[in-house]
Amino acid sequence: MNETDLVSLTRGPVWSGFSQPFRLDMDVDGDRIVRCRTERGFCSKGLESEIESREWSSAILLADHLDNENAVFAELVLCEAVESIQGVAIPNRVRLVRLLICELVRISSHLGTLAAIARAAESEAAAHFLLRDRERLLDLMELLSGSRFSPRFFSFGRVAWEVTEGFLERAVESCREIRASIPEYNDLFTFHLSFLQRSTGVGVLTMEDAKAFGVTGPNARASGLGEDARKTVADAGYSRFDFAIPRGVGEYGSPGDVHDRVLIRVREISQSMDLVTQLVEAIPPREDASPDEAEKLGSKTPPIPPGEGYARVESPRGLLACYVVSDGGPKPASVQFRPAGRASFGALPSILKGASVQDVALIVESLGISMAEIDA
């Protein structure tokens, strides 16, 4: 095919199709993208430097702002990195409560991403149904901490306070209600004929590209990679629970296309709801907690000894890692995050090459990236 005169198109940094601010410069041949360049940094807030300039007690509060949608994962990874310096053993109940909160937020995050994809596909009803269900989980977060997005619930070696009365029962009940809605999402969106036509074979991230760019999380799993830090990290705490890692096989199109990324997220929601049930059953009752554990729950942050700590967790966007250096002082010497979405964002020009201009918003949203986290 002969290349006609290329037309330059720019989307962003603020465009109705993107839910995140970034700039996309495209050269298009007809309707097809020949090449594109991305520009980021519109959400830059110098978060790591900010954390380093404050005392340890403020670090978790600031880490919440790494990715507002998934604030607890930034809290968790920072806590685990610091705990590896401290060398403390985390009480069983604390660990399980942390995992429970993380799984609830994972469901909430996936629902939010699916709603953004539905909006990009102009499926208004599906988007609102998804957001309606996410509200149940945000209400739970509010019940837990008084805050819907930034709970500031985790703390070094413990959780900040005990879960509220009836929280565990409500978590299971909310999951049951959301599970009942999944067939509704599927009818309206996931397996709707129009959406299948629109999303299969579109925005393909091949397994080779996913490996080359270091993509992790649902995007990598949709491309056929089976990596999940919940399985691969030995002390993640998930070893005793029964769950499988779903992988994209291109059931309706090619592996790693937009539809696979949607499907993986829907399956992970279902899987996380199973995990929530298992976790609630595994959490020891409060009165059964050992005196040591009860004491830890209410204790203040101890001084952080000098040393280096590194932790990895599986956030809803992929592998989130944190490297912390302490010099024994009141402030962290160094804090660095490895944002989960940065690799997916790096792969964007490769994914968009050859795609239709009409699909740009859909492809971008299907990657579920957070510019707040990437620009941090």
């Binding site: 199709g17 298009v28 309707d31």
Partner: protein, 343 residues
Amino acid sequence: MSEPGILFSWFVEQREWSPVFARVAVGGVSFFAVVIPFLFFFEWVERKLGADFQARVGPNRAGWAGILQSLADFLKLGLKSSGKPRLARNKIWFLISLWLLFSTLAFLPLGSIFQTWNPEMGFLIPVALIFAAGVASCFLAIESGTGSSWLEGIRIASQSIAASFLGFLSLLIPGLRAGGYSFAHLEAAQGASPIRWLAFRDPFLFVSFLAFLLAGCLFLGIRPLRSQEARASGFSGAKLWAFHFSREYALFFWCAMTSSLFLGGASIGSFQDFFGSAAPLAELASLLSKCFFLMFFIRWFERTSPALRAEHGASFAWRTVIPFVFLAFLGELFFMTGGALWR
């Protein structure tokens, strides 16, 4: 209905106006007395429906249950300036598309009150006008001067060409059955009862009914036959309102045409005697209720469907629907002639 309408006769005979002025006046009266109130009411219903789908209350501030919200929006947007200045030729294409679209008012088959004339090609002329308006809006997009709008113009063109071919092809079948394309022919060919509507007379006519409706949706870019970029019209203020209103009017007009062609139109059959002197109003109510049903169905489908790419809609029309309609046309021809053409 085939006779000159009551209002037209009044202007010509009582006021002694020329037929041209009388038609303009009837069009104006029908626009302000019927079209605007109906569309404002339908927009309120549509917004309430959309709100219900999304677990919202919807408009509830202006008037009882927010029924005057459309009027409030008209006043608000109509008083705003249209944002960034545009090229003169852009304005011209905008005005041409509006003029072509609203000139179809002269052909609105609203029953015996507003009937103005009954040309031999009565149903083909407004459909041609609608497609001409589509071509004008295509140029409007192309002339907007940005890469995005140029692409949007090409997409509108591809959808309009597919929709016009499908629309005219599916129009041939009821015309064949009725023996002509005038309002009188279509009125004579069907009655008030659903079993006498052309849409349900035989399978070929039913196919053409669905295809004609689909052509309208394709032409108007109604979801799922809509591109992602279609919403980026670039209008604001009064122009934005005019753009939305003209799209809503085009849908209403298309549904009125579909009702008249396939669903008995404004006919109330033997109820004429029952209603007596109020029969013209009953005819109007009959047509508007059919339009309401069709528009409601289309909007309900739109609200629950993800959007396709522009080429999907055009491709579906060319590859699937048009061959079907062509076969339906041949089938109707065979059915009408009793196979005489093939013997």
